[in-house]
């Protein structure tokens, strides 16, 4: 495969815009007014899409800073009233920094473990040839038919037997293999040209080396999808940690943010203002993190999708 030098690729991309290169039929298909209209349409659509994501968070912040009773007002209060008492009340109710770090640790470790198991199992099911491969794959897929909640009590018994209740292990290891991830990687390897792997093998690479230097780079788009899905699922996980961990108010708790947030939806009502405040200050670090590193995220996603190479 011939790789285009970065400077040349950049020149090719920029040339039509600067009028330095041929652009066949561009003028005929897109007159100036039409191009401008299309540009504004795209910008408008992007703005609407952006609002769809921004408004819920803005609304959460408004409710978190509302005075008593304003969260249920109609017409709704659209501007924050800077009633910080909700924030201080929510902040004092739980060890939030600890819960946040717990969530981050559990989600990150789960993603790492899931990627490892998905790559290994997906490679085995998609590339290696061995007896019972199809049956094993079907058995793995059959796990999808069993709702997680049905097994939570026997799972608890197992976790209790190995003394994993109220630990990070019980929140990470059982979710460290994803059937969805295994299936996705397997499908990716099934559609990959076998010649690429054979070529590496002919050069003397063993299976692990083939996987490491050929399989994993090629499967990067699938791995990004798995990582995002697993991370989100882990971040949003509620019932599993709720049952498998014990509540604690000290620095020793291993519970995640979601369990802390759920405590505001009590048995006789919901404390919306405090819930919104807690949701806001646990979401803010993630948003800031994304905004600071958004260029890297987007480049990584595009790269994984096979578009640009950084």
């Amino acid at each position: 495969m011939t790789r285009i030098p970065a400077t040349e690729a950049r020149a090719r991309r920029l040339a039509p815009r600067r009028g330095l290169g041929p652009r066949r039929g561009a003028a005929r298909r897109h007159p100036v007014g039409s191009r401008r209209g299309w540009r504004w349409t795209r910008r408008g659509a992007a703005a609407v899409l952006g609002l769809c994501f921004a408004v819920p968070f803005y609304w959460t912040v408004v409710i978190s800073l509302s005075r008593p009773g304003e969260f249920a007002s109609y017409p709704p209060v659209l501007l924050p009233h800077w009633h910080w008492a909700n924030w201080s009340r929510a902040w004092a109710a739980a060890p939030w920094p600890r819960l946040f770090l717990n969530t981050l640790l559990v989600a990150s470790c789960t993603v790492a473990l899931c990627l490892l198991t998905s790559v290994l199992a997906g490679f085995a099911f998609g590339v290696l040839r061995f007896r019972g491969r199809r049956l094993l794959m079907l058995l793995t897929l059959s796990v999808l038919m069993m709702p997680a909640t049905v097994l939570i009590i026997p799972d608890y018994v197992l976790a209790s037997d190995i003394r994993w209740i109220d630990t990070y292990w019980v929140q990470i290891v059982p979710w460290g293999a994803s059937v969805f991830g295994i299936f996705l990687v397997r499908q990716f390897f099934l559609t990959m040209p076998q010649e690429l792997l054979d070529a590496a093998a002919l050069d003397g690479a063993g299976r692990i080396r083939v996987l490491r230097y050929v399989g994993v780079p090629m499967a990067r788009p699938a791995l990004v999808v798995i990582a995002i899905n697993v991370f989100m699922a882990s971040w949003n996980s509620f019932l599993w940690p709720e049952i498998m961990t014990r509540s604690g108010t000290g620095s020793s708790t291993v519970q995640p943010v979601e369990v802390g947030l759920a405590s505001y939806a009590g048995t006789d009502g919901t404390d919306y203002s405090a819930l919104a405040a807690a949701a806001a200050f646990t979401t803010l670090p993630v948003m800031v993190f994304f905004l600071v590193l958004q260029r890297q995220f987007i480049r990584g996603a595009l790269s994984a999708a096979g578009g640009l190479r950084g």
């Binding site: 109710a93 796990v143 009590i153 018994v157 059982p174 059937v179 505001y264 009590g266």
Partner: protein
């Protein structure tokens, strides 16, 4: 309840464990020898020994938010200060559904808490499986001295059908109705005294963006005020939806009429449905006239209203034979896996929770009712009562409040009633919806 995309591959092992757990559970059920445990399971009537050294007890509860959480933590701190040998470890669940799952899981794993909050039907299940001990085994009597001070309905609620005292009260409340008094006044409507007047009031105040009442019909996640409303109306007309033996009577004319009442309100546009305490939000947003909820919801109702209008709270309207308010809230049980010292400490703690000053403190902060009338004269309670006269006028209903009979299938039957309400409000006839629920509940009873 949220699901996760990834599924653990260890579930094949877990499936085997499930089978084993079911087999064990079945064996336990057989050994129990019928509903609510055999007399042989009730143990000695000698009181628990005194606490002789440092001991820690675990308490599974669902008081995880707002004033409930902070007040319980405060009470525990005060208890530990006066009982330095006893440490109480609270383990809060977000709601009763999660609490039940956690309790069952802990029992199955052999790591049950020392004490836990339970509904009556859970207690029946636990007693049947012999995983809890009767209170008489701790108190040395089926009628401990403190019991006589409790409201009659509260005391009666602590016994299972075998006649033994298995539970101890903790957080008790009654269904009440919260009104937007300004709206009532503006529409020239008085506070309804009967269910018929209540329907009229809802219809009169509906319109202009206001829907009389919004309810959560309930579902598999647990009992809600919508389902309890139906039970209360049937009972107020003289036909509770369960017999004393727990047999469903969902197809009685009164029960069907109760569902028809809700359907008529829906058809008139005076009833809407939602989830997660929708009536509270609608009332607070001036989009509803009334909210039917537990008195313990007072803290949250006030938060939603925030002084925007005058909030009036009353007991439930009357039916043809009187008013029938459901007693909500839970009791406490002690698990048999606890050590003798833990049981003794648990009994000390449970007695402390039901003393008049503690109940006064608890009630004034949370909106639950004190379980004993002696609390009403406590200084912590008198100021609260002065601000909330509705408590004084409704609390005596604790003597006659209705409760679901303590049988294991009743929890499941509540979800069938919820399904009937949802079906009725979606167009199924009341008779047909209640008949379906009746059959499902009868099957659950037969399979118990």
């Amino acid at each position: 309840m949220r699901s996760r995309l990834s599924v653990p591959v260890h579930r094949r092992r877990a499936a085997a464990a499930l089978a084993a757990a079911l087999a064990l559970s079945g064996a336990a059920g057989c050994a129990g020898g019928g509903a609510a445990g055999s007399p042989a399971a009730t143990g000695s009537v000698s009181p628990a020994p005194a606490v002789t050294g440092p001991v820690t007890i675990t308490f599974d509860e669902a008081m995880s938010s707002g004033a409930q959480k902070t007040t319980l933590e405060k009470l525990v701190s005060e208890f530990e200060a006066t009982n330095p040998d006893i440490t109480v470890k609270l383990s809060a669940s977000a709601n009763y559904g999660a609490l039940l799952t956690k309790e069952k899981a802990e029992v199955a794993a052999g790591s049950a808490p020392t004490i836990a909050q339970v509904y009556e039907s859970w207690a029946a299940d636990y007693a049947n499986s012999q995983v809890i001990v009767p209170i008489s085994a701790l108190a040395g009597s089926d009628r401990p001295a403190q019991l006589s001070g409790f409201y009659a309905g509260v005391a009666k609620d602590l016994y299972l059908p075998d006649g033994k005292l298995w539970e101890w009260p903790f957080n008790k409340s009654l269904q009440v109705i919260f009104y937007n008094q300004d709206l009532l006044t503006a529409r020239g409507v008085g506070v309804p005294a009967t269910w018929d007047q209540f329907a009229e009031a809802l219809k009169k105040t509906t319109g202009g963006g206001v829907t009389g009442i919004t309810i959560d019909p309930g579902g598999t996640s647990g009992v809600t005020s919508g389902e309890e409303w139906l039970e209360e109306m049937a009972a107020a007309d003289g036909a509770p939806v369960y017999g004393a033996d727990g047999a469903p009577r969902f197809t009685s004319p009164q029960a069907v009429a109760a569902l028809q009442y809700l359907i008529d309100l829906k058809n008139a546009g005076a009833l809407a449905t939602g989830t997660n305490y929708p009536g509270e939000t609608a009332l607070g947003g001036r989009k509803g006239l009334a909210d039917l909820s537990s008195s313990a919801g007072y803290y949250y109702e006030n938060q939603a209203v925030g002084g925007k209008f005058k909030l009036t709270t009353t007991g439930l309207p009357k039916g043809s034979v009187g008013a029938a308010a459901m007693m909500a809230g839970t009791n406490l049980v002690v698990f048999s896996s606890a050590s003798a010292q833990q049981k003794a400490a648990a009994w000390t703690f449970m007695q402390y929770l039901t003393t008049a000053p503690v109940q006064a403190q608890w009630a004034a902060a949370t909106g639950y009712y004190p379980v004993t009338a002696q609390s009403l004269t406590d200084p912590a309670m008198t100021a609260y009562l002065a601000q909330n006269p509705w408590v004084s006028s409704t609390i005596t209903s604790l003597d006659s409040a209705i409760t679901d009979p303590p049988y294991s299938w009743v929890t499941k039957c509540g979800t069938y009633l919820s399904a009937a309400i949802q079906a009725g409000l979606s167009g199924t006839s009341a008779a047909s919806a209640m008949s379906t629920a009746q059959n499902a509940c009868a099957a659950a009873k037969a399979g118990a």
